[in-house]
Amino acid sequence: MHPSTLLLTRELPNLQYSSTRDRFDETWEALLSTLLGLGRAAGADFVEFFLERVNYINCLAEDDAITSISPRLSTGAGVRVFRGKADCYVSTNDLSFTGLKAALEKGLSILGLQLPAPNSYVPEINLELLRDYATKKGKESWLAGCSSMREMGEILLDANAQLKQKATHVQSRRAVYFRDWQEVLVAASDGTFARDIRLTQSVGYNLLCADGANRSSISKRVGSTSEPDFLRSWNYQTDAEEVAESAGKMLYADYVESGNYPIIMANEFGGVIFHEACGHLLETTQIERKTTPFADKKGEKIAHESLTAWDEGLSPDAFGTIDMDDEGMPAQRTLLIENGILKNFISDRTGSMRTGHPRTGSGRRQNYTFAAASRMRNTYIAPGNYTNEDLFASIDKGIYCKKMGGGSVGPTGQFNFAVDEAYLIENGKITKPLKGATLIGDAQEIMNKISMCSQDLGLAAGFCGSVSGSVYVTVGQPHIKVDSITVGGR
């Protein structure tokens, strides 16, 4: 016998919801719990709604003019439906009850389910009290506290003027900034009900220098979450000096001679090596696809004993920091490798269900058009006991990779990444700049060749592209030595 308060499906067309259009808050509870109940009544094992509102802007200064200010306003929702271990994800821009119901119905029908008959009861889904990270942490005022369009322009022009003073042989100067304000609400049939606001900002330089046939292009970006004052506090003088110095050194650099070398990778963005060579292979997405050699290696040694590594969402203001993931789970700190032993994987809800590894608050997505997947947050190699001098002293002939470009890893564990700024090491000393280096290798092999870690852990902002789109991440490491790696060049 059902209580008389239970909703009958024939009453659905008469329902009136008063959820506010301009904010994702408690007013959405009734609408979402009805839809979740409807999905369960249709036979779905699990249903999840992800609502998103984005207020994005980017600004570009080229030489001495602002050439682009581009605001983007976006709203949308994604509904994920599970039946057994099969899942379906439907996204829409229509956040009305009718629009969300249509998306749900499409998801159900794809899985062979249909809405119950008109006189069926819709089970109540009791959502938890809204876990509102935005209100709790005072994020409501973040957007208003960010730089105005006028201020963005003024700061970027000042920054570009600074670069003009510092650099020589300049062909083009660019200062680039974006602010990504995102409000999300997650409601799921297991009772999850959580809201957050994220504020991600990044600013940096792209400098192109040319002298006859010699060219060098150097970029630098810094990024932050949860800091409305970020742009105002950008120390562009220091960054301008650094970028100008790097471009100057690389302008007349020789191309690297290809071969196998010991290398030292600088801290901060050097951490891209671990991100590509190992981090991706610890995502449960890779276990599901059987594309990681580490799938059954938990508790086993997979790396040199000098290596300990973390993935976490908690470092204050770091680029991959999140209070909750895109499935409503609070972020946490996950030990990946301890003294070479594999301790944990990076897992989202689906990955956990399909592989058995516990969720780690790592379900992330670029936006509402993607289903969440296991993704890295702030991922870094822990500091070791050596000094940088120890690392250099151990190399007779090798390469110092001071500034890394991007990289990728393929389905067989082969990885690669580019070096933007490199130097030859001879007898423990840096002797000359080199350009054109690409590092390639195999994940399993390289992890055992990271033999020395220095003490100077540094983090850097990055962008990571994978199955659920491009997400903000942090990479990091201290200076490390890799005993041998293939360096592609001319």
């Binding site: 200010i69 439907v90 580019a418």
Partner: protein, 446 residues
């Protein structure tokens, strides 16, 4: 998504209310479904129905502001117009974007090429069969970790306050398969293939499966390759990847921004071997995802880029064309700063070759099937590249897979070092191209 007439109506009304006399809108709407499978079972089905528009408004000082939005009802458009108007006061004061002079020109190409979507169950069944076929092709093929079959209905429109109004609709269906091998004592290897056509019925599924199987199996007995300088043959896909990565050569906006390997004076210069000719051809009959007009409403067309090795044209927006004193070419992407990008390359032989080559009789030649990690290994403003690749060492016509290696060089030198452009073109997602032979490229292996 409202109809274009409806959208134009309430945009006009909103603009009038806000005192905005000049504006334009570019928008698109997508209805798509995609499936993935794993070991004979559906893994994930995705469906999406979404739309977005970008509005540009000009204020009384004739500076322009832009806003994009996914909210296309009257309230959303109203907010977008207000935001764009606010942004317009920070818009550029020199070379301000304007309507394309061709935004109202007649469209000669067919603007509607649609096909009904297949049921999801049929997509899943089709992909499961393809996966099964691949797994049966060789005992070493243990999985197809990356796969997808998707179908998409896409409609686009452009309208402006001077009365331009055009739209088009396309359907297409595509499949990708990426298989992986496992052998005792050997590293895993993989290979992939992609096909696209108007509908599921027209899709070359069998060809896709056979190509993946053949490539994957051919990579089983891999060997290291000695580092050195080699004669290299680029597959159509590999060559188009490189051409795309260095497309700033042809891009008028990049040239004006000094973000190109070309300058305005490069036109008419010999930048490649006379054996090479390249066009950009959005309306090529093989281009399933053809666009008949660009983001400013300019009709697209075939543009010769390299003719017998000579740089013969740049690609333009309305703004760059004005600055170069020429016509727009239909390559604009609307935005606060209008950018320019190619549509679909058509690469073909230029001057007749004095000598022809064949992989069937090749000696010590590297055949590169695809290059990877272009985002990392290409220095587009320096002209250099250093890229990992999948490929084979071909000796006496026999192909031996290469374990892991990189190819490096300077793209302008590569273009000059082309020694043969084969006659037989192949269709790829980026265009139509034959195999290209290049001398003296650096390969790093062991």
């Amino acid at each position: 998504m409202p109809s274009i007439d409806e959208l134009a109506g309430y945009t006009q009304a909103s603009a009038k209310r806000l005192g905005i006399e000049k504006f334009d809108i570019y928008g698109s709407s997508v209805d798509e479904t995609s499936v993935q499978v794993d070991s004979g079972e559906p893994k994930q089905v995705k469906a999406s129905n979404r739309s977005s528009v970008i509005v540009r408004v000009w204020n009384k000082d004739n500076t322009v502001g832009v806003t994009s939005t996914t909210d296309v009802d009257p309230n959303g458009i109203d907010l977008a117009l207000k935001t764009a108007y606010e942004a317009s006061f920070f818009g550029v004061k020199e070379n301000v974007p304007d309507f394309s002079p061709e935004a109202t020109a007649e469209l000669k190409a067919n603007t509607e090429a649609t096909a009904p979507q297949a049921p999801v169950s049929q997509l899943i069944d089709t992909l499961i069969k393809a996966e099964k076929q691949l797994l049966q092709a060789h005992p070493a093929i243990k999985g197809v970790p990356y796969n997808g079959l998707s179908q998409r209905d896409l409609s686009r429109f452009y309208l402006n306050s001077d009365g331009a109004m055009r739209n088009e609709a396309r359907s297409y269906t595509s499949i990708y398969l990426y298989s992986k091998t496992e052998q005792e004592g050997k590293k895993p290897r993989s290979a992939g293939a992609f096909r696209i056509n108007r509908s599921l019925e027209q899709l070359d599924l069998q060809g896709c499966v056979e190509e993946v199987a053949e490539k994957t199996i051919s990579h089983l007995d891999y060997e290291k390759v000695k580092s050195g300088k080699y004669r290299v043959v680029f597959s159509p896909e590999a060559f188009l990847s490189l051409l795309g990565a260095f497309s700033n050569l042809f891009n008028a906006q990049n040239i004006l921004d000094k973000q190109s390997l070309s300058t305005p004076e490069s036109l008419g210069k010999q930048i490649a071997s006379p054996l090479l000719s390249v066009c950009d051809d959005a309306l090529h009959p093989e281009n399933i995802a053809a666009e008949t007009f660009d983001g400013e409403g300019t009709p697209t067309r075939r543009i010769p880029l390299i003719t017998n090795g000579v740089l013969s044209n740049f690609i333009h927006s309305a703004g760059t064309a004005k600055r170069f004193n020429t016509q727009p070419t239909g390559h604009a992407n609307i935005g606060a700063k209008v950018s320019v990008s190619p549509h679909f390359y058509h690469v073909f032989p230029g001057e007749a070759a004095s000598r022809e080559y064949s992989l069937d009789s090749a000696e010590n030649v590297i055949f590169i099937d695809n290059v990877q990690a272009l985002h990392a290994g290409v220095k587009a403003l320096q002209g250099s590249f250093s890229l990992p690749f999948d490929g084979w060492l071909v000796t006496n016509g026999k192909r031996t897979s290469i374990e892991s290696a990189t190819v490096a060089g300077d793209f302008l030198e590569l273009l000059q070092s082309i020694i043969f452009v084969e006659k037989e073109p192949e269709l790829t997602p980026a265009g139509v191209c034959p195999r290209i032979w290049v001398d003296n490229l650096s390969i790093t292996g062991e």
